[in-house]
């Protein structure tokens, strides 16, 4: 019995060690960027000075360079403009569609759902190639509008998925109650449904924004110099002129990702504890 217990214990330690190893594999590459972005030298690796914690070897040099470089500030402006517009469009259309899809009367629901999810499943390179032909012919190539439309459509599946998921837990008696009290459909939506599904709508919007903010393939095909976004600028930074400035940008994006993750987790927690909700 004792031998079996020891084998079990060794097995347990091996299992925990293995999982710890996998977690290190997942997280360490991201963490390694953060200290390196403070490198005083133009290298992608730790200098001896950094390892000795010599204050001379650490600096804000690359952060200053990014903040003062017009290519990067323009890219940030483009990313924000395109990301915000695409998110608004995707959230509006996606929420409307989700309200329809959640209705028990929706015809051909599975088919419509498959159609609306297709931008999520199609490899982006193929979507980008198709968009390149089509948008160019419509005069949307190398325009902000073209990129906004493209990023909006790539973001819509997330909104549809998160909002339909939230609506699945929505108690329809609330709508009936509101209707019996004399509220019209618009009023019912505004004062009953919308507040309840708001966490789902916001999570979907955050997903859509993150998609646009991180998208580079469509940008590579559709954007001109005027529409370069942050990921496009990073792409150029990795491929053409490797400079630790991209590590500073990467550090900023990691912090941004943490904020998004935290917000989505918080919203999920909130929505599951709400009234009028029957999970």
């Amino acid at each position: 019995m004792q031998a079996a217990g020891r084998v079990g214990q060794i097995g347990r330690v091996a299992y925990l060690g293995y999982c710890a190893g996998v977690l290190v594999f997942l997280i360490a590459p991201i963490l390694v960027i953060l200290p390196l972005s403070f490198n005083a030298e133009p290298y992608f690796t730790f200098t001896e000075g950094m390892l000795r914690f010599d204050p001379e070897a650490w600096s804000m040099r690359w952060y200053r360079e990014v903040v003062t470089d017009q290519a990067w500030t323009n890219a940030l402006a483009n990313s924000l403009v395109i990301g915000t517009s695409a998110t608004l469009l995707a959230t509006f259309l996606g929420t409307l569609a989700a309200l329809g899809l959640a209705s028990p009367h929706m015809p051909a629901r599975r088919l419509v759902m498959g159609f609306l999810i297709s931008p999520l499943v199609t490899p982006v390179i193929i979507a980008a190639a198709g968009m390149f032909f089509f948008y160019t012919r419509l005069g949307l190539g190398q325009t902000h509008l073209g990129l906004i439309l493209a990023h909006a459509v790539l973001g819509t599946p997330f909104v549809v998925i998160t909002v339909t998921a939230t609506l699945a837990g929505y108690n329809r008696n609330m709508t009936r109650a509101a209707a019996s009290l004399g509220a019209g459909p618009v009023r019912t939506f505004r004062s009953i449904q919308l507040p309840l599904i708001a966490p789902g709508v916001i999570s979907g919007a955050l997903f859509a924004f993150a998609t646009s903010f991180d998208e580079v393939v469509v940008v590579l095909f559709l954007a001109g110099v005027e529409q370069r976004t942050i990921p496009r600028q990073m792409w150029a930074g990795i491929r053409e002129n490797i400079s630790p400035a991209i590590l500073a940008v990467a550090a900023f994006l990691i912090v941004f990702a943490l904020c998004l993750l935290w917000t989505v987790a918080w919203l999920r927690k909130r929505s599951s504890g709400q009234a009028g909700y029957s999970p």
């Binding site: 977690l23 209705s103 909006a152």
Partner: protein, 398 residues
């Protein structure tokens, strides 16, 4: 019979979904359809050289064409030269048979100075290639408006002058090996993700809620982090002067002049892809494992099963839907992978998507790019339908 109220409700539901359906149709599906059309429809040569192509349709394909064909070709090449469309035509003919680009371009330019009516002699004098029937076969093939040649090229096949289909010469087979490589890499990455992800998902699913939440967050951080950031990280870690090589040298495992080539090759592609796709394996596995009651394992143990037996006979079968969903999801994403191989794959770590981008942006062979894209799309769609069956329509990622 549907009641009027129900009909109204149906209309309202459909009406709510309609704007997005239209939007996706115009901004997403129409571009894809136009790409698929481009993979089988190419009117340029037939439009620029209409009479030549029409005459070649009646040609027996055995002997050198008649004088009338030469005359039409000469006249239309001259027009093409003037309207600057000759480049597009020459490029397309060249793809059917290499080397014909310069024949076409030079002939079109030099025909300007030629005159008279012995067109055949004139053209053969400019370039003897006009006397070879292969040239005319290439012209006829390039002149097909509706064509399968892009799809044939995409699977390393070619049409012989007699109309039969044959494989390309071994040294010109590019795409089938690349498809095979893409499938092999996707399969390898999926398997590795499963091996790495299964125990981790198990640990997260059966941890106490608080610890589980923290562990889950550690999986979600890379999931939410920009793809380009993660790729940059791997460059920092794996490059020649990178962190891992530095560590190995410092520890004395390898000599400073024998640093390992970990990136800009297949190793780089493989490692970075596994890192990027691992959360897509862990999350569906986790969502299935969370629903497997612990009591089942205790029950198996109390009935005398050893822990290995209890796992294989009780736990593993119940986790299979998660294994299926996670594996298919990772595989689907891997097949269409572009960014990571492009940045860290070097010349040996490229996948089929990189070839689509190459033909879109560098060689400008859009017909072939579209055909390659069409093939990838069919594969992905088939796998997605399978995934939809397994995952029951819920995308277990968000």
């Amino acid at each position: 019979m549907r009641s009027a109220a129900e009909r109204r409700a149906r209309l309202r539901a459909a009406g709510l979904a309609l704007p997005l359906v239209a939007f996706v149709g115009v901004t997403f599906v129409a571009p894809l359809v136009s790409m698929l059309v481009r993979s089988v429809y190419d009117p340029v040569v037939a439009d620029v050289l209409p009479e030549t192509i029409a005459l070649l349709d009646d040609w027996d394909g055995v002997g050198v064409p008649e004088e009338a064909v030469f005359e039409a070709a000469a006249r239309e090449l001259l027009v093409a030269q003037e309207e600057r469309t000759i480049g597009q035509v020459a490029g397309r003919v060249n793809r059917v048979q290499g080397g014909l680009r310069s024949v076409m371009v030079v002939s079109a330019r030099r025909l300007r100075d030629a005159s008279g009516d012995a067109w055949r002699e004139t053209m053969v004098e400019i370039n003897p290639a006009w006397e070879e029937i292969e040239t005319w076969h290439a012209l006829r093939t390039a002149g097909e408006r509706y064509t399968t040649r892009h799809y044939l090229a995409a699977v390393d096949l070619t049409r012989l002058p007699d109309g039969s289909v044959a494989r390309q010469a071994p040294d010109r087979r590019i795409y089938v090996p690349l498809f095979t490589r893409t499938l092999a890499v996707s399969f390898g990455v999926t398997l590795l993700c499963l091996i790495l992800g299964y125990p981790l998902a198990h640990l997260i699913a059966h941890s106490p809620p608080r610890r589980g939440a923290i562990l889950l967050a550690l999986v979600l951080v890379p999931f939410w982090t920009s793809l380009l950031v993660r790729t940059t990280s791997w460059i920092v870690l794996l490059q020649n002067q990178g962190v891992i090589n530095d560590l190995l040298v410092a520890a004395g495992f390898i000599a400073d002049d024998a640093r390992l080539a970990l990136i800009y090759n297949m190793t780089g592609t493989f490692v970075a892809m596994t890192h990027v796709l691992l959360p897509f394996m862990v999350l569906p596995l986790y969502s299935v494992m969370r629903t497997i009651p612990r009591s089942h394992m205790s029950a198996a143990a109390s009935l005398g099963a050893g822990s290995a037996q209890a796992f294989w006979r009780v736990y593993w079968p119940q986790s299979l839907p998660g294994v299926g969903a996670g594996s298919l999801l990772v595989f689907i994403l891997a097949i269409g992978y572009y960014i990571t191989p492009a940045l860290v794959g070097g010349s040996t770590g490229q996948l089929i998507s990189n070839m689509v981008a190459y033909h879109m942006q560098t060689s400008l062979n859009w017909g072939l790019a579209s055909a390659l894209g069409g093939i990838i799309m069919v594969c992905v769609t088939a796998l997605y339908i399978l995934y939809d069956r397994i995952a029951g329509g819920r995308i277990g990622v968000t």
